[in-house]
């Protein structure tokens, strides 16, 4: 399927999702759906660097929080519409991703992973000590109840849901376009054998920087509307462990080699978690995610998509 066709198909799918939400007139759907879509973006973004290039980012929360705090900063300074905040958040996170990549990507993959952890903590410490955006006390973001979109007044949460839906489509289309492009082939060689990739003429450092930047930017864009969603932003929720572990678990459980894996992982795990948080407790829900991650990594390293592919290949050979 050509990329242009895929884009149209995804937009249609998104419109269908939207139509569905209109049919079920329940605002809760928007609240829960927003979170799941957010994870779709985070998982897809993580996978561009982690799944395609093989470089693990433990600090997804940092890029997400950067986007969120950029919004808080502007909220206190000069009000800007959220779509623009998303762009700015994306740019800020992208630049930080580029910078961090430049410092650490020339080293081994394991050093990069550790550096991402370090980055998350450094950023968190900086934010905690920066009173303008609330510091450790947090920042309140007042949001209106409704907003005018195309002449209609819709609930604000539906507006946020829409934005996140668009971002999710953009993230998935980006991932798929990359996957099938020359860039995607280059990423795969980095994952398979970086030394051989260099010998074959692949500019590995440049490609890794591109991956880090795109990945970071998407995560930042996902974080930008978050303060408006949650109303009160403080460092421990923005930098929460839930983001770091979900951003890794969802692609690894779904399958890291294609754009489908993170989507499936996010939809599945995201929905399960929404249900679990309400019925059991949020701590148990995180525990489940952690256990699933370890289980899948040991038993089914290629994720759900990998299992399906295995089944298909076995059928072919019969």
């Amino acid at each position: 399927m050509r990329s242009r066709v895929f884009l149209i198909v995804s937009i249609v799918a998104a419109l269908l999702v939207l139509a569905l939400t209109q049919a079920v007139a329940n605002n809760y759907l928007f609240f829960a759906g927003y979170v799941v879509l957010q994870f779709v973006v985070l998982a897809t973004a993580w996978n561009i660097l982690g799944g395609y290039c093989g470089y693990v980012n433990f600090g997804s929360a940092a890029f997400f929080a950067l986007g969120a705090y950029t919004s808080v900063f502007f909220h206190k300074t000069y009000q800007i519409p959220i779509p623009f905040l998303m762009l700015i958040g994306g740019i800020v996170s992208g630049i930080v991703g580029l910078g961090m990549g430049y410092l650490t990507l020339r080293l081994r993959g394991s050093f990069f992973a550790i550096a991402t952890l370090a980055l998350a903590v450094v950023l968190q410490t900086l934010i905690i000590n920066w009173d303008y955006v609330g510091g450790s006390r947090g920042a309140y973001v007042i949001r209106p109840n409704t907003i005018q979109v195309l002449g209609m007044a819709i609930p604000y949460i539906e507006y946020l849901f829409l934005l996140m839906l668009l971002l999710a489509v953009a993230a998935i289309v980006t991932a798929r376009v990359i996957e099938r492009s020359r860039l995607g082939y280059g990423f795969a060689t980095i994952r398979d054998d970086e030394l051989a990739a260099e010998a074959a003429g692949v500019p590995t450092l440049r490609l890794k920087l591109i991956a880090t930047t795109i990945s970071g930017a998407l995560m930042g864009m996902a974080g930008a509307p978050f303060p408006y969603y949650i109303g009160y932003l403080e460092p421990s929720s923005a930098f929460g462990l839930a983001y770091a572990v979900n951003a890794i678990a969802m692609p690894m459980i779904g399958g890291t080699s294609t754009w489908i894996g993170p989507l499936i992982g996010a939809l599945l795990l995201g929905t399960i978690q929404q249900v679990a948080t309400v019925t059991i407790s949020s701590a148990v829900n995180l525990l489940i995610v952690g256990v699933l991650l370890v289980a899948f990594v040991i038993i089914a390293p290629n994720g759900l998509v990998g299992l399906v592919q295995q089944r298909l290949r076995a059928k072919e050979q019969r």
């Binding site: 410092l103 394991s110 550790i114 550096a115 410490t125 000590n129 462990l241 690894m252 991650l293």
Partner: protein, 291 residues
């Protein structure tokens, strides 16, 4: 201007004592990451686990925390060997340790932290012992016993390990396996078994480090994560796999953190370690002592 020299000297001394404790925390990673090339970012989780176990025994039976730590050494050794076995069979053997091994340890780190939250909640826990509280005084210099004792024992632990790695057969085999696995196999030593022993030792040190931790400060489940940066910063600073390097890195970090906390406030302390780590990785990844 009245430069607070007494404050500075106390900060430096406190930093040295802290550095001693950091040695115990880091030596396990020096072994697993420095010698075996296993990125066990879950190491702080094992330390915190150790802290909580020490806390339970200490508060239930009143046994001295350091003693509990020593008693737990064999338990943690077995735990470490078991974890390595799973790691080896799932990842090393299949050659997939890069991505999946990291995710595996991250999962363990995560499960441990959340598990502890579920069992113990987020309240701070601390151990009780007669030496937690009183301090030795030399003029204006304060040497709290709760810092002094872990520091001294850490240095002893390091010396013992250094002897082990240079004098015993298995110890030297462990050092050899980090250089050349094939050569080791030719020597009719089983590299997998050697690595398992080494990793077991690495996790065993976490038991002791955990005991020290709960003596030095109150613990709660997320404390482990603060140590990830410190541990790797020290390792990289001191040069991977070098035990003497660990001392240098630990002391340096301890002193800088202590001075930062004294003059700029404790909320900046985590950034110090991680900032160090980022800078070292960026500019001198071979460490100060280089390899």
């Amino acid at each position: 201007m009245d430069f607070p020299i007494e404050l500075l000297i106390n900060a430096i001394i406190a930093g040295i004592l802290l550095g001693g404790f950091y040695i115990a925390v880091t030596v396990g990673i020096s072994i697993s990451f420095g010698m075996l090339d296993i990125v066990n970012i879950a190491h702080p989780a094992f330390i915190i686990l150790g802290s909580y176990l020490v806390y339970i025994v200490n508060s239930t039976f009143g046994i001295d925390p350091v003693l509990v730590g020593i008693l737990m050494l064999p338990v943690f050794y077995v735990l470490g060997a078991a974890v390595y076995q799973v790691y080896y069979l799932s990842f090393e053997k299949r050659g997939q340790e890069a991505l999946r091994g990291l995710a595996f340890f991250f999962g363990i780190l995560f499960i441990t932290e959340v598990g502890l939250i579920l069992v113990f909640g987020v309240d701070y826990r601390y151990a009780e012992a007669p030496y937690i509280g009183p301090a030795l005084r030399f003029a204006f210099v304060d040497l709290p016993y709760r810092m002094l004792i872990p520091c001294v024992i850490s240095l002893l632990l390091l010396a013992a390990l250094q002897l082990y790695f240079s004098r015993t057969f298995i110890g030297r085999a462990i050092k050899a396996v980090s250089q050349d696995q094939q050569a080791l196999a030719l020597m009719a030593a089983n590299p997998i078994k050697i690595k398992r022993i080494a990793f077991g030792i690495s996790i065993a040190t976490a038991a002791l480090a955990g005991a020290f931790l709960v003596i030095i400060q109150p613990v709660e489940p997320s404390v482990g994560r603060e140590y990830i940066g410190r541990v790797f910063a020290i390792c990289v600073l001191g040069g991977l796999g070098s035990l003497p390097g660990t001392v240098v890195g630990a002391m340096l970090l301890g002193v800088v953190e202590s001075i930062t906390a004294t003059f700029y406030g404790p909320s900046w302390a985590p950034a110090v370690a991680f900032g160090f780590l980022l800078l070292t990785l960026a500019f001198r990844p071979a460490g100060l002592l280089g390899r």
